[in-house]
Subunit: 182 residues, 2 copies
Amino acid sequence: MSKANLTRETLLPKLAAHVLNHGLGGASLRPLAKAADTSDRMLIYHFGNKEQLVADLLGHIAGIYSTALDAAMGAERPTTRKECFDRILEQGSHPMMRPFMVLWWEIVAGSARGIPGYREAADAMMTKQLAWLETQMPEDDPDPAGGARYLMTLLEGTLMLGVVGHARTASEGLLASGVSPS
Amino acid sequence: MSKANLTRETLLPKLAAHVLNHGLGGASLRPLAKAADTSDRMLIYHFGNKEQLVADLLGHIAGIYSTALDAAMGAERPTTRKECFDRILEQGSHPMMRPFMVLWWEIVAGSARGIPGYREAADAMMTKQLAWLETQMPEDDPDPAGGARYLMTLLEGTLMLGVVGHARTASEGLLASGVSPS
DNA sequence: CAGACTATGTAGCGCTCGCTACAAACCGGA
DNA sequence: TCCGGTTTGTAGCGAGCGCTACATAGTCTG
């Protein structure tokens, strides 16, 4: 195995890939190490302890999410809030995003429980998403800032309901609200 | 220690109390047993294995939630959607509800990850909450069913944003939507 | 009272956990 | 070339995990 350049920076992408596929809470050092072609011994050496590793990993994942949003910045803006909402919801429901969404709820749960590092990562990702959403608001929207926050609240509620098998509840609610059809 | 009447039914309330204070995912048999004044040996004896214990526990907790909602059914209904939303949000934000909310996000995360038993419990709780919310809608609401679903989506989004430190984002969004002044 | 079945205590199995002790390999500068 | 620091491998520690084997106490039925 190539032992070249074993640093936090080269390890984090492989660790992130493993965590996206297998979860964060249940991840232990030895499987993580194997996923990064190294040993638990070296993970502790480079990160100090597991808590720091998880914190760094969450920061790295938040960074990935941020750059993914930057890359997804559409050229042409939607013309209505409804269109804006539908577009971002569809993007979040894309199968490619599934591992990320599964991990996301784990981060929310960790944030609620107060596990070190989780809250910060979750906050960063939401802040980024909000900023991104503001840029995606219709150009002629009377209140882009407030509208983005409103849409984001609706969006997160929709995603949560979807996760627990109540996607229909959300879509019927959105239909009644006039924000989104279907 | 009183060894009287050691059954699933007498065990579950004590187990639920422990889980509400210490989390579900990280809970292991021996601390759970101590919280219920018994031994890990007996937990396995009565539930078969840990997975079944967790499933039963989630069912029990969903039941607790359901009866709590029944008890919280207000005598006089709100007169506007905004009032309805504010009232239920305030109730959900009550400090007494905190352990339950923390556990809730763990259930959502487990549901997203597909852990057996989580999805069913989450679904049951949301279904119950929706039914409850429908009864709390203003009497003259033009579309109580759709309105309840809309408010619920907004509510869940608000709660999630609150958990990750974005309560302001949600309240500003609600302000812009006209549903809640905050 | 005999026997069967249920309920419980004690002890421990094999495993994984995060982490560490110790030594060897490597590598740059004197 | 030797030397000191950085990086890595091997082995293992103590603890906790879910779960089981085995024996025993209690209880109910015939």
